[in-house]
Symmetry: C2
């Protein structure tokens, strides 16, 4: 019989198939193929993008020229623009504001033929340093309340227009609903237990059947109520609400575990599309609708969602998910 499992971190339920017969080869998807047309994100094509807002460069190289390992530019077709006032206002019954924010592209490598999981640890560390630098910079913009960093790998995950390996960053004047839900659950738990709910979950998962990888600073596991087959979470072992406060030593260990789990995913399933995102706390702002305990309550993490089954009307109607691969099986497949 299938099970219904509750995600303790969001309060949502998932229907989990009961099956011991799932094999990674049961899932079909298109392996990500790189087109070889002109690419604005390749080294030496820097003039084809908006000017860089951040880069990690070789000594002696010049901005907007070659000689970099990671480069951050504004999206040339941004969903949100950095100029202007928020203009929060009513329209009759409704609430709206101007589309003010930032929409940036983090070019993870100068090379067109590399995916994130194919980078060396020191290169992946530079990507993480770029994330940190951009968050800290945007935290200074008082209009912004949240920075969302995400990545679409492969066509099934939405990366059909760009094949160079990139992440995207959006600075938002509101906190996304999914984070608000997590923050409220974590606050209520802390109020009851005086402990971080994520720290408690980690302690249990470190000993369990859903563990995928571990090092001195980080742990990766398949969440108990995974919504997607082969879903993974990567969490710092020490409590921390803000990704941008990561230490230099932790950056290298995060690069190591992220490279490890993305390689496992690629090798086990044969290059599936996936979405990766940073689940960070909002900026600490007065009147943001939060509370002064958020640094105790929340625990940042990465979320990796392979996109190998189609979401249907059931999920869209309910935000209730059906997952054909229990996380215990996923962890077993991923940790041979």
């Amino acid at each position: 019989m299938s099970q219904m499992r509750k995600d303790i971190l969001t309060g949502s339920w998932v229907i989990m198939a009961e099956t011991n017969t799932v094999r990674p080869s049961d899932f079909q998807f298109t392996r990500f193929l790189r087109e070889t047309m002109f690419c604005p994100f390749c080294e030496t094509n820097e003039a084809a993008t908006p000017p860089e807002v951040f880069a990690i460069r070789n000594p002696g190289s010049s901005p907007n020229g070659p000689g970099w390992s990671v480069r951050v530019v504004s999206n040339s077709n941004p969903l949100l623009r950095i100029e202007g006032e928020l203009g929060r206002r009513a329209e009759g019954f409704h609430d709206l504001m101007n589309g003010v924010g930032a929409h940036e592209i983090i070019v993870e490598t100068p090379r067109h033929d590399r995916s994130l999981h194919e980078l060396e640890v020191h290169e992946l560390s530079d990507v993480i340093r770029a994330y940190v630098a951009r968050i800290i910079d945007l935290e200074g913009d008082k209009r912004m309340r949240y920075v969302l960093i995400f990545k679409n790998h492969g066509e099934g995950a939405g990366a059909h227009t760009i094949s160079h390996s990139i992440s995207q960053l959006m600075a938002l004047a509101v906190t996304p609903r999914s984070l608000k839900t997590k923050l409220m659950v974590a606050r209520d738990y802390f109020a009851l237990k005086e402990r971080c709910i994520y720290c408690d979950v980690l302690q249990q998962e470190l000993k369990g059947r859903r563990l995928i990888a571990e090092n001195a600073d980080f742990v990766a596991f398949a969440p108990f109520a995974s919504r997607f087959p082969f879903e993974m979470g990567v969490f710092p072992k020490s409590h921390s609400s803000a990704f941008s406060r990561i230490s230099p030593g932790q950056i290298e260990n995060l690069a190591r575990i992220l490279r490890d789990v993305l390689q496992k995913l690629d090798h086990t399933l044969g290059g599936p599309p996936y979405n990766l995102s940073l689940q960070d706390r909002p900026f600490l702002r007065p009147r943001a609708g939060y509370w002064n305990t958020i640094e105790d309550d929340f625990h940042w993490h990465l979320q990796i969602l392979p996109q190998i089954v189609r979401v249907t009307g059931f999920e869209w109607a309910s935000w209730f998910f059906y997952n054909p691969v229990p996380p215990e099986i996923a962890a077993q497949c991923l940790s041979p």
Copy 2:
């Protein structure tokens, strides 16, 4: 400049493109093609399905034989099963229960070559009567708290295995997260205003630029903070929390407006995939985690979500949506 719009009914924000240049032909998708293999849902093939749990039949016809307009059967590969105890329990830190529920198929027509929008009003009325009958029957099962009815039309909406026109029904022992969010927002609004938030929204939309269709009992409009291009909501004009309490006269008017808006969608966009769902209140149960004001607070509705743009890591990371077609434009395209 784009806008950020708040969905007053869920509290979620959507980034809305600013564009006056969208044409329906800008969207690409595969029109739903029906395979012509053996179909268990066609008339005379009744023996190929589990026994019917409900049908609207011609006088003199026999159960599980031909002579019906709508037929409801159990899903032969159900995600949830009706037999057994819920068995709510803990597993260490986590909560789970058995996959107990119902998973039924509502065969909307005996004919393989008809889609929902191609049915006559009296046929579509029978589909609605079948929905009502199944909800009332399942309300008697005290283990169940919610009945979700949804439909996947077209391959991009998840209907790749079955091409006969069907709806699906799931009876659940928990209320889906998306409904819980709506219920909480509606409760807070009623506490403040002593009015139903949906009734207030309808009053405004009846006079506005997002109106798509209207008759004596129902209104259809493109929601202010539509998450999907050409998203539509269909609402009863008179306050009612429970779909199953619909009157016979209302059933016919619901069939009329639903047929009208689905035909508009089909004709305007050329047969797009879509998901349709009923957003109903949960059953009234003691200890369900709700409150005794739910009949005042909530207002049932249908949600129609065309699936013509791909959801990416941005949406999965945040439940924040980007919609390239403002609802004012969608309504204008749909109501020529």
